[in-house]
Every structure is written in structure tokens, then in C-alpha cells.
């Protein structure tokens, strides 16, 4: 571009701007500044760049009072919004001890595929096979020499290999999954990635490459912090959401409520005693209000609509 301005030159320009902006400049200082300005072309370039800022301020100065009032009002509005958001969140977190996952906004914004709440999609892959994408999921798709890689930033997918195409692998911040003719589910949370293998086997490596295991059909594992751990059965069929349902077989109610919550706007809150209840059945994901009503009928629980956005689930009063 123009003459290279080193950090040192720029810092000198700033120091001069500070001196000259003080409102009390001596003739000696003025002369020293002129000498500095003429010593090198880069000095002048740096000085000009710095002056670009002044144009806007000089213009605003023609209406200094309303300009200041406007800037202050914009700031007040912004602070109010932020405080309202923070106040609401901390009140909920305090009352119910809910850990709120702030979604990774960056990926939501730049990912190849990003789904909203309760939005499920099926991607047909170029080499055959499908990737089912659950709600609140973001991912990128890359073609590599070894085949297609799906990079999951957040959320859950079911991978169904098929056709004669190369296998569809998956990676997250926690690990990498390479399948051998198979169907499997990858769920990426903040601190860990879970794998459920439905058919075939999946070669699974931690992100640092330190641990690699072959995971067979029926098994569920969690990768976190460079380690692969087998998970106890959750009682939920891992890929049931592809069909738009939750299939629970003696599952903890917390697992069912978490799955329902992921399909709803707002929050679904519940106490520990509620979380521990066991439930079996099939629930539809596209009508979570109805699923909750069914649960309320068959279990000793009560639903309370706290606000439009918050439903609280608690144990029925023992009267």
C-alpha cells in the first residue's frame, strides 16, 4: 500500500498528537514537531493517517451539544439492552441452577449448514449416503482425499453411508470418526462429543490423535479432553430424531426433557427429583406441548408456565 509505517513511527505520531492536542503548545514544541514531520516520509504518512480521525470529530464539533447528547443516548440504549439480557439470565440461573450454554455465534454465522430450533434437515451427499442434521446444529462440509468430512461445530447429526461413494467421516473439536460402511450419530456439546454407533463400526480418534478405538454397533462413547469413555445406556434411541420422535425405554425423565427442550424456544426447567423419574414411550418432536402434556398425565409431575419463554416441571404436590 503506502510507505510502511512501523509501530515505533506510529507511536511517535501519537505522542506528537497528544502534545499538540493539549491546548498549550510552546513555540519550541511546535518547531520540534515540524522537524520530526520532515525527517522521514513515513512520519508524514503516519501523521496523515492519524488526522483522518479528526475529520469526523471536526464535523461533529459544529453541533457539539446535540452530538454529545446523541452519542450518550446511543450508549445508554445499548447498556440498557445488555443489562436486561444479563439480568434475565442470571435470575433464571440462580433460581433453578440451570447451566446456560451460550451458542457459538461465530459458527452459527459462518457455517455451511446451520439449523434453527426444531428445524431438521437431510443432506444428500455427492458420493451417496446421507447426513441427517438435528435442530440447533451448525457444520461445514469438506471434500478430502479420504472422502467427505463433516465438521460439526455444535449439535447432532446421523451419518448414513450408502452407495459406492467414499465413506463420510465426522470431526469435532474433540475427535475424529471414520466409518466402515455404517450408520452412526455424532452429538457435539460444549465440553464433549458423543458417538452412538447403530450399524457397522467407527474408527474413533481423539482430536490430538493420542487415543484411537474401534467402536462397534450398539455402543455409545464420549470423547473429551483427549480421552474416549464408554457411556452407560441412556434409554433413548440415538437416531430417533431423524424420524421426528423420541423413543424412550426406561430412560431418565431428564434425558427426555432435554431432547424436548432442544426442539422448543425458551427454556424447560426441572428439579433434580423430576430428573430422576423413569419414563418409557414414544413422543413426537413436532408438538412438544403435547409431549409435555402426555408426560404430565402419566407421571407425578406438574407443568408451570412461568413466562412465555419458561416452563417449569416439578413434582406434583403430595396432597
Amino acid at each position: 500500500m503506502d510507505d510502511k509505517i512501523t509501530d515505533t513511527v506510529f507511536e511517535e505520531a501519537i505522542q506528537w498528537a497528544v502534545v499538540l492536542g493539549s491546548g498549550t503548545v510552546s513555540p519550541a514544541q511546535q518547531a520540534a514537531f515540524t522537524a520530526w514531520l520532515q525527517r522521514a516520509p513515513a512520519h508524514e504518512t503516519a501523521w496523515r493517517r492519524l488526522q483522518e480521525i479528526d475529520g469526523d470529530f471536526n464535523l461533529a464539533r459544529t453541533a457539539a451539544e446535540p452530538a454529545k447528547a446523541t452519542l450518550a443516548a446511543v450508549r445508554r440504549g445499548r447498556r440498557r439492552k445488555r443489562r436486561a439480557a444479563l439480568g434475565g439470565l442470571s435470575a433464571i440461573a440462580l433460581l433453578f441452577g440451570v447451566a446456560l450454554a451460550i451458542s457459538d455465534y461465530r459458527y452459527q454465522w459462518t457455517a455451511d449448514v446451520a439449523t434453527g430450533t426444531a428445524e431438521r434437515r437431510t443432506l444428500e451427499m455427492a458420493g451417496g449416503g446421507r447426513v441427517h442434521v438435528n435442530g440447533r446444529t451448525s457444520l461445514d462440509i469438506e471434500s478430502t482425499a479420504q472422502g467427505t468430512m463433516v465438521r460439526v461445530h455444535k449439535g447432532a447429526i446421523v451419518v448414513q453411508s450408502g452407495g459406492t461413494g467414499a465413506p463420510i467421516g465426522v470431526s469435532t473439536a474433540h475427535g475424529t470418526f471414520r466409518p466402515v460402511g455404517t450408520r452412526y450419530v455424532v452429538t457435539r456439546d460444549d465440553g464433549a462429543t458423543d458417538l452412538s454407533v447403530i450399524a457397522g463400526t467407527v474408527s474413533t480418534s481423539s482430536a490430538d490423535g493420542g487415543v484411537t478405538k474401534r467402536i462397534g454397533a450398539g455402543a455409545e462413547v464420549r470423547i473429551a479432553d483427549g480421552d474416549i469413555q464408554r457411556l452407560p445406556a441412556t434409554g433413548l434411541r440415538a437416531d430417533a430424531w431423524v424420524e421426528g420422535i423420541i423413543e424412550a425405554d426406561d430412560a431418565p425423565l431428564s434425558a427426555v426433557l432435554d431432547s424436548l427442550a432442544a426442539q422448543r424456544r425458551g427454556w424447560l426447567l426441572f428439579d433434580d427429583e423430576v430428573a430422576a423419574l423413569r419414563v418409557s414411550g414414544v413422543f413426537r418432536l413436532d408438538d412438544t406441548d403435547r409431549a409435555l402434556a402426555v408426560l404430565e398425565r402419566v407421571l407425578p409431575i406438574e407443568l408451570e408456565q412461568v413466562t412465555d419463554w419458561i416452563v417449569r416441571v416439578r413434582l406434583e404436590d403430595a396432597k
Binding site: 491546548g23 461533529a60 464539533r61 453541533a63 454529545k68
Partner: protein, 161 residues
């Protein structure tokens, strides 16, 4: 440089429009922003090496949308200020220029710590000398000088980004 923008345009502009359509829920707005993103690219005086064009385009689009929000907030605040207080009202052209300047100033001031921001505004908008600012803010003269340098370093980093 223009040819590489051309290549990016041909390859990614439909993706960007679809992507913004999903994001904003409005086809026309998505088309407008897409156009603005490429105008922005063509009018840039420096051009970084682009390794991930889609992330790069999305970042510019994100900046444009944020700019629109900022402009709307500044315009609203300006009109309210004009309506609510007894100021001499500049001509419409002058007002438009001042609002543009305030939009850029608001962006520059974001992220600057409150005292440095206040000191800089007292200097550049009120025309106070450093000793006067020091007195107004109840700090030492050298603190004012440090805050002014801090503000200018902050602005410069934003400008060259």
C-alpha cells in the same frame, strides 16, 4: 486484485445470498446485503489473502448488518435529541453529514474505556485543554495524556483492521 474478486463473486455470490436469506428471513434484504458486500470488497484499498472466502464474506456481511443497526440507533437518537432539546437545527444536508460522522465516531469509541472516551470527547468536541480536562475528571495531567494516547492507539487499530 479485481480478478480475484471476480472469481469469488462467481463462485460464492449465490451461496452468500442463500445464506443471508436464511439468516435474515428476507430475500430482498439478503440480495441487498450481498450486493453491498461485493461493493465493499471492490472499494477496499487493501486486500488480504483470502483462504476461506465464505467465512470472509460472512464476516463482511456481519459487519454491514452491524453497521446498519448502529446507523439506525444513531439516527433515532439524533432525531430524538433534535426534537427534545432547544438546539439550533442544522440544515438537512448538514444533519445527514453529522449523523454519518457520529455513526463512525460511535464505532470508534466502542471498546474504549469510559474515562479515555470521556477525555477524548472533552478534547475534540468541547475543545477543552488537557489541564481543563484533568480538572473536570479529577485526574492528573499525565493521566489525561495517557488516556489520549490510549484512545488514538485504539482508533488506529480499528482503522487499519
Amino acid at each position: 486484485m479485481t480478478s480475484s474478486i471476480n472469481a469469488i463473486y462467481v463462485e460464492h455470490h449465490s451461496w452468500l445470498r442463500r445464506f443471508l436469506c436464511r439468516r435474515t428471513g428476507c430475500m430482498h434484504l439478503a440480495a441487498d446485503i450481498t450486493q453491498d458486500v461485493f461493493v465493499r470488497l471492490l472499494t477496499r484499498d487493501s486486500f488480504p489473502e483470502i483462504r476461506e472466502p465464505r467465512a470472509f464474506l460472512a464476516r463482511i456481511a456481519h459487519g454491514l448488518v452491524a453497521d446498519q443497526w448502529r446507523r439506525a440507533a444513531v439516527e433515532r437518537a439524533w432525531l430524538q435529541t433534535m426534537a427534545s432539546l432547544d438546539f439550533a437545527v442544522p440544515s438537512p444536508d448538514e444533519q445527514a453529514e453529522i449523523v454519518e460522522a457520529l455513526v463512525r465516531i460511535d464505532a470508534l469509541l466502542g471498546g474504549l474505556k469510559p474515562r479515555a472516551r470521556e477525555a477524548f470527547l472533552l478534547s475534540r468536541l468541547d475543545g477543552l485543554t488537557y489541564p481543563q480536562i484533568a480538572e473536570r475528571l479529577s485526574v492528573s495531567l499525565s493521566t489525561v495524556e495517557k488516556d489520549m494516547a490510549l484512545a488514538m492507539r485504539h482508533f488506529y487499530r480499528l482503522l487499519i483492521d
